[in-house]
Amino acid sequence: MKLLKSMILATATFASAGSAMAQTEVVWWDFFVGGDGQRMKALIGQFNDEHPDIQINATSSEWGVPFYTRVRTAAAVGQGPDIMSYHLSRVPLALSEGILTPITDSDLEQAGLARDDFFPRSIEAASNDEGTLYAVPFDIHSIVLYYNKSYLEGSDYLDEAGNLVGIESLDDLNAALALAQDNGSQTPLSYQTSGPGGIWRIFHTLLSQQGGTLIENGEVLPGDNLDKATRAIAIMQDWGDKNYQPEHAEYEASVALFTSGRSAFFINGVWEVPTLVDMEAAGTLGFEWGAVAVPTLLEEDAIWADSHAFAVPIQGNKEMAPEKREAVMTVIGWMEKHVLDWAAAGHIPAYLPVAESEAFTQMEPNATYASLADKAVYDARSDIAGVASPVYDAALNVIAPAIHGFLEPEQAAEHMRQELQALLN
């Protein structure tokens, strides 16, 4: 009976959809799965409900190389989507592949947006060297420092409200880690030590906090950047030597170390915020937690960051029909204005009217670490950098062995320089 009912309902819906006039279908590809995926599906559903004339037809596939390879091959032969999610760190490679179409000012106008509506750093990362925009930033996501209050109680590291304070240098952090270790935290600083993402993000943060850059004018770690990279690796190796960080922790294990209460601190992306919020709500977390922007441990304010963005790929040799492009821009504009729901996944909206709205500035813990948007340092603008790039691979291939003691920091930095330089030549 229930089946029959739903069949009739489906038929009726289908019939009514068919009778609606000139509905534009927008083919949408993204790489959002897990918590992000659920939130994006909800947004897409809401959009489709509100727009009888536009129908988003969404497909999600696996994050990383599989997604980007598929996009490139499909777009080149005109079988790609009308709109897709994209990492801003991946824009330089996309530009050299020539698979993105420029987002013009009239496109933005159609979407009800303007360049000034976004954090300047994200617009810069979404543009080519001449300033032509190729993607519309959606969020800024970064790494944050999560902490378990139970290991810090009664110490100077918690203020009266129970918030983390007093970590203003590497020594402060190391002292806090030592304290947590004394208080029984086995591996007081958890992060993904056996995967490219976790290692790369921390390494890049430490390098940037010394004012260092990975690639300058086609040279990998030129001048004293090599020493800065060495120092960054040495800091991470030291955390290993003192048993502050877990050995060979895969991503899931690194999360589990914190959520099970074994690690006092945890450095990971903002996207794990929902995990903790949900566990706390379900009463399965077992401790009080907080999250702050990764403190400035070295000389300069800098935190690795990336953005999810929307991009419109080329359609092989053809041009996208103007009505279709209009529909795509309508989708982008609507999404930006509803980015608050997306922010619940831990992200910071790239769209300033929402990022500065009262609703967001009261959203916890996002508001606590929202300042990182001003310290955001995107990956080097290079064909070999960005999400799922050889630079990420090098983090796993070279830095991971170093932080586990198989390579000296100098050797690792030099190895990384040579290997990446060979790819650039």
Partner: protein, 292 residues
């Protein structure tokens, strides 16, 4: 009987035409295209400009190429002969069983072979997991401490090799069993009547008569193991610091991560030529060895 020779040829041609057509379409044409691509600076999609031998010149100056070559060689050493010896031993043992017992044991040894590579690597990644792996206590008992095998420069290749042998050995056992069944029991009977020992039976009858199969297994293994990619990609990603980087990983990275279709083709051509030379050479050597 008088045959119309011409008609004969026409019939033969008609019969092989479908195969030749498919072969040309999905193998010959792509192969020639790949060779052509290797002389251009083409991206992954579309064509590029002719650059002559530039890709090859660059390749022979690429340190990673030599590291990969060395690792490919190391992996071949670790797998080809060991897997053949193990398969032969298992086949000899299984051959002594009879009836349904033999079928059952054979099935057990063959089982891993039917698993897809992703399942195989997942099983072993779990079993050898640094924190929770069921095999870690064993490793700890031997070495005194747990080892993250896929992150350790000297453990990674032997580990991948052992897993590969576990995975692919069943097929070799099958080939050896077939070879053993082809040896007439009369020979053993006659030799036994003449008072030959077990050792003599093996050395004088089984080994020489099985040689063609052994040569085949060795050659097939050599080709297969030179094409190593999946296990390394899934288990170690080529690390740590390139200790398990192999030529096909290089092809993958250049083509799919870096959009260098031309350069990736050059690496692929070198691998193709290498496999061809080595396997032809090996097969000829083994044939000579067998004739003595």
């Amino acid at each position: 009987m008088i045959t119309n020779r011409r008609k004969h040829i026409v019939v033969a041609m008609t019969l092989i035409a479908p195969f030749v057509f498919i072969f040309a379409l999905v193998f010959l044409y792509p192969t020639l295209k790949m060779v052509e691509l290797s002389f251009t600076n083409a991206p992954l999609i579309g064509s590029g400009e002719w650059v002559g031998l530039d890709n090859y010149r660059r390749l022979f100056n690429d340190n990673l190429f030599y590291t990969s070559l060395k690792n490919n060689g190391y992996f071949v050493l670790l797998t080809v002969v060991p897997t053949t010896v193990i398969a032969l031993a298992i086949a000899l043992a299984v051959n002594r069983l009879a009836g349904s017992m033999q079928a059952l044991v054979l099935a057990v040894f063959f089982l891993p072979y039917i698993l897809p590579v992703s399942v195989v690597t997942q099983i072993w990644a779990w079993m050898l997991d640094f924190q929770f792996g069921i095999l870690q206590p064993l490793i700890e008992w031997v070495t005194g401490k747990p080892v993250a095998v896929f992150n350790h420069p000297s453990w990674v290749m032997p580990a991948v090799a052992s897993i590969t042998i576990w995975w692919t050995n069943g097929f070799n056992v099958l080939l050896f069993i077939a070879g053993l069944r082809n040896i007439s029991p009369d020979l053993y009977e006659a030799a036994a009547l003449d008072g030959a020992s077990r050792r003599q039976l093996f050395m004088k009858i089984t080994w020489p008569l099985l040689w063609p199969v052994t040569a085949l297994v060795l050659t097939l293994q050599l080709i297969l193991q030179l094409k190593l990619f999946d296990q390394v990609y899934l288990l170690s990603g080529g690390g740590p610091f390139n200790s398990s980087y192999v030529l096909l990983m290089m092809v993958y990275r250049e083509a799919f991560q870096l959009n260098h279709g031309g350069y990736a083709s050059a690496v692929a051509v070198i691998l193709f030529v290498l496999i061809m030379i080595v396997s032809v050479l090996q097969f000829q050597l083994l044939r000579i060895g067998g004739r003595k």
